[in-house]
Amino acid sequence: MLKRIFAAALALAIPFTPVQAQEKVLKAVMHADVRVIDPMWTTQTIANIHGMLVYDTLFGNDAQMKPQPQMVGKYDISPDKLTYTFTLRDGLKFGDGTPVTTKDVIASLKRWGRKDGVGIRLMSFVDKLEAVDDKTFRMVLTKPYGMVLESLGKTNSSVAVIMREKEAMTDPQQQVKESIGSGPFNFAKDQWVPGSKAVYVKNPHYVPRPGNEPPSSFAGTKFAGVDRIELQWISDPQTAMSALINGEIDFFEAPSIDFLPILEKAKGVKLMKTGTLDSTHGMIRLNHLHPPFDNPKARQAMYHLINQEDFLRAIVGNPAYYRVCHGLITCGSPLANDGGSAMLKDYNPKKALQLLKEAGYKGEPITILQATDHVTITPATQVLIQAMREAGINVDAQAMDWGSVVSRRAKKDPPAQGGWNIFVTTTGGVGSANPVLHTWIGAACGKGLFGWPCDAKIEELRNAFAFAQSDEERKKIATELQTRAIEQVVYIPFGQWTVPLAYRADRIEGIVPNTGLAVLWNIKKK
């Protein structure tokens, strides 16, 4: 009887056995789930990864952070550095087959220029953005702003991706409904299961840069190496690791550092370090709008609570992968300096409470947005709460998932009315290496990022940096800026770390060690 059932089951199984073997599928688990498909609307890194698969950018920054043309074929900068003339490469098409024109480009840049901090800044110097013809357009500046190409090529925060004019006309405060770009892959929206997977299929209309330029970060020739990419979402890093070891996935962007020894031993699995700049920075953001942290003294008091090693050990553990960094600009990057760093080195919890009291703190509850589901932010927040409680500060920890933190941190209301005092987040080392791209260092008051630090001097310095003409001058401004920003406490850094990515070396090859984003083009299946 059993035999018969078994035979019947087998017979049933045969017609189902794999028929799709020819199609090359890359299965990857990234650090987050693709939930928003508009890389301009959100600053989430995962949306940028999505964006870089689907869209293309005018410029791409290479591994040395130098912008290289990507969609742009040739460009010209006038000697007075006020007029930029760009010509698109030949034959560029969107995923739906329609050609990319300067209409699309200008609409996209305008949308980005109304949403992204760096974009807003750039646009503030733009006098005219006009099409010459379908392929050529011109950007005329009011001042010789030095960061035009870097801004166009940056891939952190909101990215200046080029979308169809139709979508680019969408209000920047609203998400686009379709995600169609001129990148190597098309987004298969019908197969998108938010919370589980996002599917990308090879874009037949994609035109790679000619000449087979060696890929370097976001520059060089990129192509679709597989027919299909599935970004699966596995929230538990341990499960994702096991899935990689078991061969259920090919690529795992963010393994947990605790598991690296297991991964190192696993058959077929390799780890890849992606460079010094490609690091994550921890930061504690204080809300400058509400007491007690509307007072710089109170903010500075918080420095004495932070022992970076405590945070880094809790998050990372293995010192091989972390680095204490008493600065706001990525340690190890060209502009790193020790301006103001003395303030960050004085760990002394008693002094912290003392200073807080001097600043007028009388034991009111301090509201911390406590993410419960984030690999690094959760433990970091935990360490912070613990440190504050031990120092005798009244902490009101509001536990919620990271997504809720993201929406709540945007509220400017007082903490008691749904606002907040402190949240913990991380930022990328690529952005933080450049004072202009490093939006968290800004202090643009209400227009800036959550926490809304407000300091004209900082903004002036960032401006000046953008117009600096020599590396020496840049370094000098960066030092001054960092000193001022630390004084103002735009945020409290708690170190930087780099997690290698893990992949099945026996199955895939051709990973481009991108800095900042793990981008999956050029990967081939063995």
């Binding site: 890093p237 096991s242 605790d258 297991i262 090693e309 405590d310 050990r313 809790a314 536990a399 998932d401």
Partner: protein, 289 residues
């Protein structure tokens, strides 16, 4: 609680502990186990250290003489947290049992008395019962910020209908007794009369039911914490210890297995107690389940 059950359980002859245990081994076993755990929950915390004490240097240490149950990913002592966790789990379990019994009793009596109330309340109960309890609980928790009190309320609400049904069934069956019917028809103070007959009859199934509610509440609490919708993550509940340890299960299985075992033992103790009480107090129910 033990005092009440003793009254009910033991025959009115001379009390002999040994006979009582022999006759009701499950009650005795479950009861002793539960008492031991309650003792741990009540006095345990004063003998152990600080459950919040972080020690990043000592993260994920395996069980040893220094850390009996090992440490978690923040270097906190799992033993200490497990002891504190007993307090949270039992507190949740017992309070849910108590609140849902009281609420269920009150609603059940009301339903049994007043036909109009019955129609409305039972429809609401049916509706509540149609929603899976964990789903209902997390939905309720999302309405407000997570906290122990909210978790208890959120677990109580889905459990109440079960109790209401039990109590209501008892009231209705007693109500249909001829002597009660005639007494009501005769206009005697029916409330008093009914109460005098209902309470003793409802007590046995109520106690039995509430032990099951207690057990299921502890499991739901752990499940909620596991899903990140339970008591705030810094509270050392067993569910939270497990939820935070799960990411490290392969390299630090003790962070899941030890609190998990404690949770299982506690639920087991309460279930055994419930089974024993059911066999003892409510043979009719005993035959059914």
């Amino acid at each position: 609680m033990t005092a009440i059950t003793d009254d009910l359980v033991l025959p009115p002859r001379r009390f002999s502990l040994w006979t009582a245990i022999r006759r009701n081994p499950t009650i005795a076993f479950g009861g002793v186990l539960l008492l031991a755990l309650i003792a741990v929950a009540v006095v345990g915390p004063s003998f152990v250290g600080d459950p919040f004490k972080l020690s990043p240097v000592n993260r994920l240490r395996p069980p040893s003489e220094r850390w009996w149950f090992g440490t978690d990913q923040f270097g906190r002592d799992v033993f200490t947290r497990t002891v504190y966790g007993a307090r949270v789990s039992l507190f949740v379990g017992l309070s849910v049992a108590a609140f849902s019994s009281l609420l269920g009793l009150a609603l059940g009596l009301l339903c049994g008395y007043f036909r109009r109330v019955d129609a409305i309340v039972m429809r609401v109960m049916d509706g509540l019962m149609a929603i899976p309890s964990i789903l209902l609980a997390i939905a309720l928790i999302t309405l407000t910020r997570p906290g122990l009190g909210i978790v208890i309320v959120a677990i109580v609400i889905p459990e109440v209908p079960r109790i209401v049904r039990v109590v209501r069934a008892v009231v209705l069956s007693i109500r249909s007794q001829p002597y009660i019917e005639s007494a009501i028809a005769g206009g005697t103070k029916n409330a008093k009369l009914l109460l005098r007959h209902v309470l003793p009859n409802a007590l046995a199934p109520l106690i039995v039911q509430s032990t099951y509610v207690c057990a299921s509440a502890m499991l739901i609490e752990a499940g909620l914490s596991f899903l990140g919708a339970g008591v705030p993550p810094e509270v050392p509940s067993w569910g939270n210890i497990i939820a935070q340890g799960r990411t490290f299960f392969q390299i630090a299985p003790w962070t899941i297995l030890i609190p998990g075992t404690f949770l299982a033992i506690t639920v087991l103790a309460v279930n055994l107690l419930g089974d024993g009480l059911r066999d003892r107090l409510d043979p009719r129910l005993a035959r059914r389940l």
